[in-house]
Amino acid sequence: MVDKSSSGPGDQKNVRFYADVLLRTLVLLIVCNLLYAALTPGPQLARISAYNSLFPGRLRLPYGENPERDYNMSLSSLEAMFASHEISGKPKSSSEFRVILIGDSSIWGFLLPPGKTLAAFINEAEVVLPDGRAVHAYNLGYPVMSLAKDLLILNEAMAYEPDLIIWPITLESFPEDKQLSHPLLQQNPAKVQALSDKYSIDFGVSSPEQVEAALWNDSIIGSRRSLADLLRLQLYGVMWAATGIDHAIPGSYTPRQEDLPADTTFHDLPGPNFAKNDLAFDLLSAGQRIAGQVPVILVNEPMFISQGMNSHIRYNFFYPRWAFDDYRRHLDSLSRENGWNYLDLWDAVENHQFTNSAIHMTPEGTRQFAYSLIESIVEIASSTKPD
């Protein structure tokens, strides 16, 4: 039913021309996508960052639950995350004693401004070692409770030549089912696999959600979301530079639970006197292997100890007493057996210094935590020699 009677030779010429253009474009698109998939330039692209040049480097790894208010966002590219961090912009000098902190949201500084985190308070102390090196701490915490995630970040961080690694941990990061469940690990299957192969780590679970790296995913079209994330991260650099905000802190929040449920179970643990194998304690050894010659201070991080209802059977929202007591015992014995530097600071911070969870601290609580670490930092740092 198309009326083509009035189409002239000019139109036909036009159609041929545009059909030709369309075909060439299509071929070019396919070739570019295949080339992109074959060369996988994603990680290299992710290392190109406006941070540390146009904008100051971030004081902690990018993470944002509400990007519009946080001026920050979560993404899966570790290369981009590190490229936006201040650690990428500061070549290590001989006068610097470089300390990196890995760990969960309490180390990243949930509900804390970037200048009031554990790393920031360590820096505020302006510790200078007897050999003249100044201690500088870098916040490489990330708000996910998983030791596998800590290992993934530690593995990347080793490229930045740390002199000391501080690794605060808590029991909630140990259950096997928590290790690979976060998108950061799900979307970095190659890195997780490489880590597992290189350091003979058994992550204990075969995750069905693990993203398969199909050829399609590596093409430009398949990578469009991660490419858009890269661009958005750079744009948020403007707001980071303009405001110094990377985390919107609400004026009020629901405080950590004081009255606790009468529940004494903890994940899939069988009950009191559980074995080391029931949790991912082996990942601590893997962390030590990744660190190699660099000393590690393992810290059982401070937590809120409830005095409310059912506090006789639970310490807090996260932990039944039996589970946490067993965990501490295992940590202590493992550290002794392996000669690890271990600090048990589980009760080092006053109860009223916890905010919305049993591990998130106020600035004052974080400062208390920092100052209880500094002595050990100095002690271990003094025993190391400059490169």
Binding site: M1, V2, D3, K4, S5, S6, S7, G8, D11, N14, V15, Y18, P67, E68, R69, Y71, L231, R232, L235, Y236, V238, M239, A241, A242, T243, G244, I245
Partner: protein, 475 residues
């Protein structure tokens, strides 16, 4: 409009253009437009309102046609058309409620048939009354304009919109305490109202071309332009709709496709990216330096431009695919050497509408009634009131009032400046080098005047805007 909406519209338009015979194309565009009004309607917390608001858009369109219809219309055809438009669209969308696989075109389930039918019948009765009795009665189009303006004022005024929301909530048996002015997001009402007022005003002055009910409805509810314009004129739209031959289909498809592509890049890449760093009432006071405040303000200015001109490109591109050349809305506004030129190139169809239906009649009337008034005072009143009205068109708040007054004053100052220069230094203005320098300087000043004007536009109230000005100038 989301990318999915745009993709569906592209496919639909191409099918209509290439597969349907030209003489039936108008009907398909009409059906597409009627359905799109429901489909594009945003959700609202008030029950069934996402059905009633688009239904009201259709009803207002058909009722307006009953007022402005050509005198020689035969009595049978419009009835059939009216029935199809009103009952057909209401029922077609309403009945989807009962078809699980297809439900729903609206964001929530449409109301029950028992509610839809009386509404359709009531609209038909009003249609019949207007059709039968409105000819020759001058107060009817005037009343219709007043009704549209009243609706407009209610929707655009936060206090009245809250009150209206409270009333509608009460009718629906919902809590009135939760009523807010954002409860009534009537898709494209501002633009629809302007098209209908244009038709009514031109009808009053015998300038409206005769259009059938379906032609008029396509004009008022044309799906590419229903959300945010451009505001076309019936005189310009009709020939395209009637022509829409096959001879230019290839060229239209290519040019339309290009335009849509540019629009998507502008809106979804550039504007959405700039939105992340644009100034707003939250970040304006978090900025730690004046320089960053300016960066965020520049980002806001370009975000607005790319967002709106990108949307316009998409609308114009979709129109072109259908064979209808919608009017341009932007012509490099930020490169203009003066504010008058800026307003001739920024949201052009809105400015032209106000010029035709407010500024020109007002200044004509002032000149004829108050001959003793100096020319400059008439220009001042005309420009200030026109720009304030354009400001209030965005929302009846003090911020938009201030934005309008800012531009009205700017236009008046520019007008006086031009007069003054013409009398003082005609040689400088006429020489090519003088013209280049003044053009560049004028462009710079104009852009920054517009840029600072966006502060009024972006901030929720003038007090905050004043604080932002203080910060911008380092205080």
């Amino acid at each position: 409009m989301t990318l999915v909406h745009i993709l569906v519209f592209i496919v639909f338009t191409l099918l209509v253009r290439w597969l349907w015979p030209p003489h039936r194309r108008g009907w398909f565009i009409l059906v597409g437009s009627l359905l799109a009004v429901f489909w594009l309607q945003p959700s609202t917390p008030i029950r069934n309102l996402d059905f009633w608001l688009p239904a009201a858009s259709i009803a207002l369109t058909v009722l307006t046609w009953a007022i402005v219809r050509p005198a020689q219309t035969s009595s049978r055809v419009p009835w059939v058309t009216g029935m199809i438009l009103i009952v057909g669209s209401f029922l077609a969308v309403g009945l989807l409620r009962y078809i699980p696989g297809l439900c729903c075109l609206t964001p929530s389930r449409p109301p029950q048939l028992i509610q839809v039918l009386p509404a359709a019948v009531l609209t038909l009765v009003v249609f019949a009354l207007l059709y039968r009795y409105s000819p020759g009665k001058n107060w009817v189009p005037g009343g219709a304009i007043a009704l549209l303006i009243t609706l407009f004022v209610i929707l655009k005024s936060p206090a009245l919109a809250s009150l209206a929301s409270s009333g509608v909530r009460d009718l629906q048996g919902q809590s009135t305490e939760l009523a807010t002015f954002t409860d009534l997001p009537w898709l494209g009402f501002s633009y629809l109202a302007f098209r209908l007022i244009h038709a009514l005003r031109d009808f009053q002055s015998n300038k409206l071309p005769p259009a059938s009910a379906e032609e008029f409805s396509v004009y008022a509810l044309f799906y590419p332009a229903v959300t945010a314009g451009p505001i076309d004129r019936l005189q310009r739209f009709l020939p395209d709709l009637r022509r829409a031959g096959q001879s230019e289909a290839v060229e239209d498809t290519i040019q339309g496709g290009k335009r849509i592509f540019y629009g998507i890049i502008k809106k979804f890449v550039l504007a959405d990216s700039l939105a992340l760093i644009s100034i707003n009432s939250q970040n304006a006071f978090q900025a730690n330096s004046t320089a960053w405040m300016w960066v965020m303000l520049y980002a806001y200015a370009f975000r607005l431009f790319f967002d709106f001109s990108g949307y316009t490109d998409i609308a114009i591109g979709l129109g072109r695919l259908a064979g209808i050349r919608l009017p341009e809305n932007f012509d490099q506004p930020y490169l203009k050497p003066n504010l008058t030129a800026f307003w001739n190139s920024w949201h052009m169809t809105l400015a032209q509408w106000f010029r035709a239906y407010f500024f020109n009649p007002l200044t004509r009337s002032l000149r004829s009634r108050y001959r003793a008034f100096p020319a400059w005072s008439i220009i001042l009143i005309g420009q200030l009131s026109t720009m304030i009205l354009i400001g209030l068109w965005h929302g009846i708040t003090w911020s938009f009032f201030a934005w309008g007054a800012w531009h009205g004053s700017g236009l008046f100052i520019h007008n006086r400046w031009v007069e003054w220069r013409r009398s003082r230094a005609p040689a400088v203005v006429d020489s090519p080098s003088g013209s280049k320098i003044s053009g560049f300087m004028g462009g710079l000043v104009t852009f920054h005047f517009v840029l600072l004007g966006w502060v009024w536009f972006a901030m929720p109230d003038p007090e905050i805007a004043l604080d932002v000005f203080s910060k911008l100038f380092g205080r």
